[in-house]
């Protein structure tokens, strides 16, 4: 099995990263911000880093065959297009 061929990642290190990022995320949310873009951008960036850590190390995408990575990434790209179109419709000025 492919997952048995790689060296085992340090799961506890990933856990501490996830915990640390969660604490920073909450602190970022609680602290006063002048701009909602800074608030939202910072939180979304940290959430994406955490999600990537879970996918790469806990779901072993980093060590799996590229086929699975391409499969998963393709749906993420489609998802991002969907969300971007929705946001664009709201943000961009209408003719």
């Amino acid at each position: 099995m492919t997952t048995e061929e790689h060296t085992t990642p340090n799961y506890l290190a990933i856990f501490w990263w996830l915990l640390g990022l969660t604490i920073v995320e909450i602190a970022w949310a609680v602290l006063p911000h002048h701009s909602k873009l800074v608030l939202g951008g910072g939180i979304v960036a940290m959430a994406i880093i955490k999600a990537v850590l879970v996918a790469l190390y806990f779901m072993h995408l980093k060590f799996e065959r590229k086929t699975l990575g391409i499969l998963f990434a393709s749906t993420l790209i489609l998802g991002m297009i969907l969300v971007s179109v929705g946001i664009g419709e709201q943000v961009l000025p209408r003719p």
Partner: protein, 200 residues
């Protein structure tokens, strides 16, 4: 296939020789998870579009982010225990695998319990799905995620039972690996939902 062949048929022997090199169960789970990505993307995308297009309250004034932060911590811990269960069965230690499966089951159950507590508290305060657009989207997104956690807890309970019956070995543990993928995905989705719904 005659009767004698059927009696000695080993499904895992076939799984190890797939054309993709990935066991069918695992590939099937990944395809299912891709469909789940689209499902949650639809929900999150709708939430973002609605939020951009209308008046929105500050979630921190209506929701208890400290309680949910604790719940997030529990779900992350259960993800770690799940991956540790897989690690131990891959090393052939079934005793530690069973221990970590039980801890994962406990973590998932606590998460659900806290979510039920949160819902009861919010409903008691009058924050229900009918009160506002925020209420509708909040209960839809967290409710669907909660349903996924519930399904995961049921499957973990089933696999833990199988583990205690000695059904998993160092060679044959695809069920735990596949279930782990689902559980980590549920954790991953919650990480995004917590950020988008509770913190922003």
């Amino acid at each position: 296939m005659d009767h004698a062949d059927a009696m000695t048929f080993d499904p895992h022997a076939v799984e190890d020789e797939t054309t993709t090199g990935i066991p069918h169960d695992k590939l099937g789970m990944w395809v299912f998870l891709c469909s789940e990505v689209m499902f949650f993307t639809g929900l999150i995308g709708s939430y973002i579009v609605l939020r951009f297009g209308s008046e929105w309250p500050d979630p921190k004034t209506q929701l208890n982010i400290w309680l949910t932060a604790g719940n997030t911590f529990i779900l992350i811990c259960s993800s770690v225990t799940m991956v540790k269960a897989l690690e131990w069965i891959q090393r052939g230690d079934t005793r530690k695998m069973k221990l970590f499966m039980c801890l994962t089951l406990l973590g998932g159950s606590i998460f659900l319990g806290v979510q039920v507590f949160e819902y009861r508290h919010l409903l008691h305060e009058g924050f229900n799905p009918h009160v506002s657009l925020f209420g509708s989207t909040f209960y839809t997104m967290t409710g669907f995620h909660g349903f996924h956690v519930f399904c995961g807890v049921v499957c973990i309970a089933f696999c833990t039972g199988k583990a205690f019956l000695g059904k998993y070995t160092q060679q044959h543990h695809l069920g735990i690996e596949t279930l782990g993928l689902y559980w980590h995905f549920v954790d991953l989705v919650w990480i995004l939902l917590f950020a988008i719904v509770y913190l922003i």
